[in-house]
Amino acid sequence: MRRDFPRNLDSLSPLYEFAEEIFESNDISPGVRFPAHLAMEELFVNMVKYNPDVPTDITVEVTVTFLGEATNDAASSKEVTVTLVDDGGVEFDVTAKRQVNIDAPLEERTPGGLGIHLIQNLADRLEYTYKDGRGEVIFTKGSGNEDV
């Protein structure tokens, strides 16, 4: 299912409700929902932050794929894919490794880069393409690989 969201933080609540409805109807486990919601927010906010003046909406697509044979443990055979498309923004490769020192003492800590660091660690797959001003990010998380 795909929907366009206005480029501002007021979209976060409708974005959550849009995805949650899909997760609920497909009985997606909390261990997949949480990182999928987190990835959606972090990626969406990044697009808002780095491309605030782009007039187009941000397109979000959420799909659920059933992997293999259905089992009694239904949650073990589903994969959630979240795709965000930002048409007209600057290039921002979310798959690039960033310097985030999670072992640094408090006085040296800064929140910068934590969001991308988190989704890089939580994703089963994270893909980014950019062509002719159109950026697309695909985050995939399957049940059976839950971290959180």
């Binding site: 933080l9 007021d10 976060l12 609540s13 959550y16 909390p30 261990g31 949480f34 919601h37 987190l38 927010e41 972090e42 906010v45 020192n101 999670i102 072992d103 640094a104 003492p105 408090l106 006085e107 800590r109 800064t110 929140p111 934590l114 969001g115 660091h117 988190l118 660690n121 939580l122 971290d147 959180v148």
Partner: protein, 97 residues
């Protein structure tokens, strides 16, 4: 939805989802904390990096005055976000029973 208020014993009760759209509300409350403070996350379902930034900023300010934050009743999802962020080394964190 995100709510933040004082509990009966002086702890800070956080409820709902602390996302980037709720930062102003959360930061406004946190800026009023003084001394050692306990955040009760029993009813906090979700936090993103924007919320982590608020915790970090508040912790830096409080530790600077020889106090700090204790975060209790953290659900397993948020606990793992803390772990991936290295927050378990700079905050006093208690998981939800």
């Amino acid at each position: 939805m995100f709510e933040i208020e004082y509990g009966d014993n002086g702890e800070v009760l956080c409820r709902g989802r602390l996302d980037a759209a709720q930062c102003e509300k959360a930061q406004g409350f946190m800026d009023g904390l003084e001394g050692a403070s306990t955040l009760d996350f029993a009813d906090l379902e979700y936090i993103s990096s924007a919320g982590l930034g608020i915790l970090l900023k508040t912790q830096k300010r409080l530790v600077g005055s020889s106090a700090g934050l204790k975060i209790i009743n953290v659900n397993n999802h948020i606990h793992d976000v803390f772990r991936y962020s290295g927050f378990h080394t700079i905050f006093d964190i208690e998981a939800k029973e």
